[in-house]
Symmetry: C2
Subunit: 493 residues, 2 copies
């Protein structure tokens, strides 16, 4: 067996344990009763340790150095590159640091759940200090090994190939036009008459409606299912994708669009190439590209007028409420494009969302690079929120810098993915329009031409190319915020 | 760390992988869409290989021989005994034989699914021959290592400590009185007027009813749940027990009692001692003892008149059918104690069930011991069915010797567990009656005194004692078929 084949077999083995881990994680969120938690935690930790052990096995170094590059096809070279990337990420950080981070992160996150509710910055800061210190250590180690700035080395975990240089350019651009666009959209919205949902919408009916919408989006039910969990997510494995949502019986709006969003993630997973199943090269390219699929489904398709027309028809049928003005096309469309300045990122609309992300990006970048200290964060947050959305979070930590889970356990470098995804999605749309009549496809109820484009250009390409290559092959250029601006202007002006 | 502590840590590690395997198995039966099957199969096979590797790791031999027995408490000695038993079972059979059995068993079982429907004994016999040959090889190896007859060595996998000598005695006794008892019960039944279910019983309502019955049986919903699968079973782990059932919307009778049965299995698992969680000594004693709990719940409690009175009340409420004579106490009681001679074991009632088991036991015992050949089975089956129940299976393989899945993949030695379980359950009841007013407890709706007895005597004892010790400590004697006979006579005469 060649060294390349040994590596391939080894990563497929790792993937089978990751399958178990993924399913146990989904089950813990969707099914598990509370009393199952401790034993499940132990089992999942054991799987993590085992996967880490396999991922850092000493023979890997020999196999990687033994591979004869010349004998490999282009695809095999890409596969090798991704296995190597995976190996480097697993081996870069010393185990005692990983362990210390895990302990500090769990402690901080656990306490945060109470501290946030109590607006207790002082208590939070004590735990968080350690998390930040350890993340900076991690960033330093990664930085030296990868020849990147500390923050860029953290970004690389989620968005390989993306740098703060390019993010600075993209986000500075957004900051020049976003505040004004938000004001104009709010102005325009003033004259609209919106009817809010006020009935009772049984979870069972919402689920049935969600399943209908998933059919319209050609979710493959032979390879996945829809369930419920407190925090909606897309989990499972490509051959069996598990998406979840949460139903509010007083309001169907969010759960329904949440299903559209998760279906975007799911179709990417379901559409990954079978030929590379179980290998790093067969996985989604990055968090930003993953988000580009969920946001293409949600923002480019889901909230478009022709799709809202389907939602109107299907929800009238589901709730047997053909005369209810809430479900009228125009009203649903307004509900799904409503703009509001708010404190909370996860509740934010499409237009204000980038402001929340850019603020976090600027703070975490400077924090990890040592330009600011963790105690500077509340004040910076307040300043930046005032600048971006005109609202102050002074003394309001719970709705300010303590609102997200990400930083509590050291996931620095993740936030940009959300807005990168939204930008990629707008760029695909602009390119797709050249060959596909998108609105007509949506209107017809057969969205296949749209999905075919995504499959050809994104899903089937998995991690065969770098992100920049992938996007350039798909759209003819690297990421360009102009498409995002144009999309938002068209929708909100 | 002492060798004993090393062993303990090692078996706890194995158990965490077994947790993953058990949950993936449950999920495959209860949730997984068909397209997920291949990748799931690979993941589960990888876990099996890994568990096998851990179970046969060379250091184990050193650790076992290094343990200083004198330093151990009684409980630790029991724990050591059970770890050793687990190790011996894993190491006894050479890997190439295990592999050959797995291949032959899968092939035979897979083809059997079609062959059974087509009554194709000739086709089945060709595959089954190999399964029998390999099982005999396995039995020979186990026999030599354990100093038991070949069949007893196979029995030992499911019922440690049970021998065909004792089974011969128990079952010969049953054969002296069972046929006459069946005839008398059938005679008595002739005069009864039974009303069969004829309505539509929605699955959702049946599930709600099932959950009510589980509450009555004090199933711990913090540590388990109820779902659906094609073949009902009890899976999961002790801290998170997953029971399943299947609903027939034309008939609620079987699903409802199936839930009672699986709840018995579940409460045993939920009641295993926390102090030995994750260790072989903390697991259920044997298949027969497991079945004794499900059958105690089903036969001793579930089909008793005071419990059927609860079922009557709860099902009238659930189906909103207070006037429907099907749900009347007396009618439900007749439905749940109806006797019928039939071909199929899984459809058999309490009274004829032992006849099905004893016939299988006699055939598999002689087959594994080399007294008969696999080609003799159809004729023997016909003879024994005529003797036991007066019905012939000549030429009727599908409802004769080809009806069960067990033998298709070599699970020889399992069948006796079913009737051993029924006998143990009757013996517990006889003993329990001396200190607990069982009928009064059931009538009151608070069955705690019954469960306390089972917890004290069975659940909390896990595998701390051998089966004979366990039963003697609980009831003052080893297994005695007289209690089973008395129970059946009281119910059916």
């Amino acid at each position: 067996m060649s060294d390349y084949d040994k590596l391939t077999a080894h990563y497929q083995t790792i993937n089978r344990f990751a399958h178990a881990q993924s399913m146990l994680g989904w089950d813990a969120a969707a099914n598990m009763p509370s009393g199952g938690n401790d034993a499940r935690g132990d089992a999942m930790a054991e799987l993590s340790v085992h996967i880490h052990r396999l991922s850092t096995q000493p023979q890997l170094a020999d196999w990687f150095s033994g591979v004869e590059q010349a004998a490999l096809t282009t695809e095999q070279k890409a596969s090798l590159r991704e296995m190597k990337r995976s190996w480097q990420h697993a081996t870069l950080v010393p185990e005692d640091l990983v362990q210390a981070q895990s302990v500090a992160g769990s402690k901080c996150e656990h306490a945060w759940r109470t501290q946030r509710q109590e607006n207790d910055w002082v208590g939070f800061e004590k735990n968080w200090k350690e998390v930040v210190t350890l993340s900076r250590e991690e960033a330093k180690i990664r930085s030296e090994a990868l020849g990147l700035t500390p923050y860029d080395a953290m970004l690389d975990k989620f968005e390989p190939g993306t740098s703060s240089e390019s993010l600075n350019t993209l986000f500075s651009d957004v900051k020049t036009w976003l505040p004004e666009l938000i004001e104009k959209a709010l102005d325009k919205q003033k004259s609209s008459n919106i009817i809010m949902p006020s009935g009772t919408y049984p979870a069972e009916t919402q689920k049935a409606l969600g399943l209908e919408v998933m059919k319209l989006l050609k979710f493959d039910f032979d390879h996945g299912r829809l369930d419920q969990s407190v925090h909606p997510f897309c989990g499972g494995v490509p051959t069996d994708v598990r998406i979840t949502t949460r139903y509010d019986e007083q309001d169907f709006v969010q759960a329904l669009m949440g299903i559209v969003h998760e279906t975007g993630h799911a179709r990417y997973e379901q559409g990954l190439p079978k030929a590379y199943a179980g290998l790093p090269v067969g996985e989604a390219r990055s968090m930003g590209i993953h988000e580009s699929q969920s946001l293409f489904f949600e923002m480019q398709v889901g909230r478009s007028k022709p799709f809202v027309s389907h939602l109107s028809r299907l929800s009238k049928d589901a709730f047997n409420a053909h005369q209810d003005p809430v479900f009228a096309e125009e009203n649903l469309s307004q509900l799904y494009t409503r703009v509001e300045k708010g404190f909370i990122r996860v509740d934010a609309d499409e237009l204000t969302y980038p402001a929340h992300v850019i603020l976090r990006y600027e703070i975490e970048r400077d924090l990890i690079n040592g330009v600011i200290e963790h105690t500077d964060v509340p004040e910076l947050w307040d300043e930046k929120m005032k600048a971006a959305l005109g609202i102050s979070t002074k003394g309001n930590y719970k709705n300010g810098c303590m609102q997200d889970i990400h930083w509590t356990d050291g996931a620095f470098g993740y936030f940009p993915s959300y807005t990168l995804g939204a930008m990629y999605a707008a760029q695909y749309k602009a390119k797709m329009t050249q060959t596909v009549d998108i609105d007509a496809a949506i209107q017809s109820g057969d969205l296949s031409p749209i999905f075919q484009w995504l499959s050809d250009n994104i899903w089937s390409q998995a991690s065969l190319h770098t992100t920049d290559e992938l996007v350039t092959r798909a759209t003819g250029e690297v990421l360009n915020a102009a498409h995002f601006r144009k999309h938002l202007e068209q929708r909100y002006l």
